[in-house]
């Protein structure tokens, strides 16, 4: 582990990914699941920027990271709107309560 090694950044990304995956797998609250997805996207971004810095030497990875951040913003807006709609319909955002396709 040192700031000048690729592997330390990849390990940080792996830890963030695992924690995000754990959040997505275990939480039953839809907003917490969205938080886990944000953690996963952040870990992917760390890998993009790390490979762009140490591996390729150009900045294509940073551009992909910016696109990922943009898509994460769109995903958060639509996802949270869906969560609010589910809350108005079911009065809970437990992901196991909202299992009907039609009311």
């Amino acid at each position: 582990m040192s700031p000048n090694e690729l592997s330390s950044y990849l390990i940080i990304g792996a830890i963030l990914f695992s924690l995000g995956m754990f959040t997505v797998l275990t939480r039953r609250n839809a907003i917490s699941v969205l938080m886990g997805v944000e953690l996963i996207l952040n870990s992917a971004n760390i890998n993009y920027v790390a490979f762009s810095h140490f591996g390729s030497g150009n900045h294509a990875g940073q551009i992909y990271a910016i696109f990922v951040i943009m898509l994460a913003a769109a995903e958060a807006a639509v996802g949270l709107a869906i969560v609010l709609a589910i809350f108005q319909l079911f009065h809970t955002i437990d992901v196991e309560a909202a299992e009907t396709l039609k009311d």
Partner: protein, 166 residues
């Protein structure tokens, strides 16, 4: 150990501990505010990787936008009094087993793969180069991104409007 290495360790610690609190905290308000530490820590890691523009974008969009959206959603969907029980977790032990095996495999892979190294690692301002790339070789994805954002904005408005009963 010089100062920058110590700062790097501090940033990594803040990132991982905050992410752990997001994953394990029983109170969703704590989870949402721990996300702040994770996003700031990831921005610091971008600075260490020489990506100044990406770090600024991370602060602006994640901390300024997505985190505020998540906090609004938490406030709008929970009665604050029963916030303790609304962040339930199910199947913790099997998930921990799966995640443990997964992270072991990931770290072994990271340690044993001979990664391709650049000839030299440069630290230079990236904003101008990124702007040039957006207007030349990545012009089509850039325009598509604006369409995606427009679609997401209209979709969010349509989904969250009040239903008018006939």
């Amino acid at each position: 150990m010089d100062v920058s290495t110590a700062v790097f360790y501090l940033i990594c610690l803040v990132t991982v501990v905050s992410a752990g609190m997001v994953a394990f905290s029983r109170n969703i308000i704590y989870s949402a505010f721990s996300l702040l530490g994770t996003f700031m820590g990831v921005a610091g890691i971008y600075v260490f990787l020489g990506a100044d523009f990406v770090a600024a974008v991370q602060l602006l969009i994640y901390v300024g936008g997505i985190l505020v959206l998540i906090l609004f959603a938490v406030m709008l969907t929970h009665r604050i009094t029963d916030v303790e029980i609304t962040n339930r977790a199910a199947g913790t032990v099997p998930a921990l087993l799966v995640i443990g095996v997964f992270i072991y495999l990931l770290i072994q892979t990271i340690r044993e793969t001979p990664w391709v190294k650049a000839k030299e690692v440069v630290y230079a301002a990236t904003t101008a180069k990124i702007g040039d790339s957006f207007l030349y070789e990545y012009l089509l994805p850039f325009e598509l991104a604006s369409l995606v954002l427009l679609g997401a904005m209209i979709g969010a408005v349509v989904l969250s409007r009040k239903e008018i009963k006939e």
